[in-house]
Subunit: 364 residues, 2 copies
């Protein structure tokens, strides 16, 4: 493959809608601004990523996030060539509602992790189109220390889209980050929607941030999320909050004790912390390391990763055939009226489904 | 439609594999044994069901459970004609691991419910092929009082099959039971598999039975089930167990208190009971009635039923297109080798899925 040729091609494609990284990301790449407009070849992307060039990494992620088929094609090639180079990493899901202090927590534990010599990538899954308080997009400006740290890479959420789409983009972004040498990956989510199951299915460790003393209503966490947690951290345990946080800790501890045991052989832990005073942060990281060594030893770490890869393959297949079905013109014309008959108990759910399936598979 | 003709047809079809109710069910229908061999017309089935003839109800359920297309066709017609006649009912999911005392509990609360003038149908979802201790099939003989009660109808699990298939059969059986005047439906499940989500999606109230004092390991309940429960009943609260049960009650109570609030506006309750001494059983039924009136008042009861109908329509569609995909010859030939490449990190889960989708949708 001649690079000259590729340069020529990329010159031609300059104005064809090459996606740009979200503007908030531009500060960190301002020195390379002139380069962004130039589309690289697949090989250039891959070698840039392997050389840990984070501008090129950013651009490649932007291709992953693009919905243009042309970009998708390049992105898939980049991922394929990067896959053999992904390093051993630890993937950690961090969830908590807006107001729990997620960005301060990530800044604080992120500084601890990078200072200990790790390279940290912070990604987010937030498929809602309204990005209120909790989103990393707004938070990045608040993670001042961490975003300036040479060992950290913070990537705002991809633009809103279906959960399936966003999950795919995030998982592919993980691969590129790992190929670029990041050995700790945080995936942030806001804990109020469907995203947590998706995040749980792509991480090794799932951390739930909770406030002390807030009533159930205020917590706003979706039911079922607590049972996914490998650890719960009670945030803002400082000042007059310390006692409340420690009470909350023992309450959650007894609650978790009543939960059925996990497949990983790990007993979920509850901790308190204060990002503000940098207290308890190192302990949380120690707990994560303890979990990783336990599950690497008992084989769960590896078997879980394998299960996740298989899960995502089948999940993507199922989403593909689903959207093919629901976007079928014959189905679109019929489904609403049939669903109405179901909801008014004229026909059963199963008969309705069967009628639609017959329509879909009928050879015209 | 001439009945003569139907009699003639059914005489012809006698040996064509008309499914028989499982033998355990035969005691209750022994007086009608001669009739079982005769296939009725759709109208005869429907009027038999509406006249609350439980032999005919049993036979119709057997048609639902049959995998023969001919039986499925008749079954669907019966369901369609029964649907407008389904009565107001309360559907209750009851789950708990083998050993928790599920059959004694169902016998005890079932007697309470029928004595209060309700007509009770007890169904089961248990898609596992191994029916050890916990299955209603074995338990029926132990529910001596209840199975002899004229107000109760106990139906053993349909034969093993896919969860989707069993769930469909159970949901369709609910319709027929409701058309036959049963106004309380229990759906039993063993609490260790995937069935609980299915049951949760077809009931109004979800009751979890737990043992006191047993360690996490012994409980064996799958994670996530506790958060589905509208009530937890600690069973076997008798003799030397009373104190332990009451301690377990307060522990679970504080645990539930920490859970996020429910969509129904209901605060899940914890109770203790002894089926053996018939203590606490009426209280559990009161709690269920309280829940039903709360959710009927706040609209959740109806909106949840509508959501469930829609859920099952889409769920059935998705299972239909999934099995069409996975049973496709081209896919069957390729999927294993492609999945191997995913598991050995040669290609990404998404690329693999895309390759299989392309293969599936490719016009030959």
């Amino acid at each position: 493959m001649s690079h000259k040729n590729d340069d020529f091609k990329s010159a031609l494609t300059v104005n064809e809608g090459i996606p740009q990284p979200p503007s908030v990301n531009l500060d960190s790449v301002k020195h390379f601004k002139s380069k962004i407009r130039k589309q690289l070849s697949v090989d250039e992307y891959v070698s840039g990523i392997l050389q840990q060039n984070r501008t090129i990494l950013s651009q490649a992620i932007t291709l992953i996030e693009s919905s243009l088929p042309k970009h998708q094609e390049i992105a898939q090639k980049i991922i394929e060539l990067c896959l053999p180079h992904t390093k051993d990493s630890v993937r950690i899901g961090i969830t908590g509602v807006p107001g729990v202090g997620k960005s301060s927590f990530i800044e604080s534990i992120g500084m601890h992790v990078t200072t200990s010599g790790h390279k940290l990538a912070v990604l987010a899954i937030d498929p809602s189109s309204e990005r209120s308080g909790g989103s990393i997009l707004g938070d990045k400006t608040r993670m001042e220390q961490l975003s300036a740290h040479p060992g950290a890479f913070i990537r705002p959420s991809p633009s809103a889209g279906s959960l399936g789409g966003v999950a795919r983009k995030t998982r592919e972004t993980i691969y590129l980050c790992e190929a670029a040498g990041f050995d700790v990956i945080f995936i942030e989510t806001v804990g109020v929607g469907q995203s947590e199951t998706a995040v749980h299915s792509m991480v090794d460790f799932f951390l739930l941030l909770m406030l002390s003393g807030a009533g159930d209503e205020l917590q706003g966490i979706k039911r079922g999320i607590m049972e996914m947690a490998d650890a719960i951290a009670i945030t803002k345990s400082d000042g007059s909050n310390v006692d409340k946080a420690s009470r909350a800790k023992s309450e959650y501890q007894s609650a978790l004790h009543l939960f059925p045991s996990t497949d990983s052989g790990w007993n979920p832990k509850v901790l308190t912390c204060s990002a503000h005073n940098n207290i308890g942060i190192a302990d949380i990281w120690n707990i994560i390391e303890e979990y990783i060594s336990l599950t690497k030893e008992n084989g769960f770490f590896k078997s879980n990763r394998i299960k996740q890869s298989s899960y995502w393959m089948h999940q993507t297949i199922q989403e593909g055939i689903k959207s093919h079905f629901y976007e079928n013109e014959k189905i679109k014309n019929k489904i609403n009226s049939i669903e109405k008959e179901v909801l008014s108990s004229k026909i059963s759910s199963f008969e309705a489904a069967q009628a639609l399936l017959n329509e879909y598979f009928r050879k015209d």
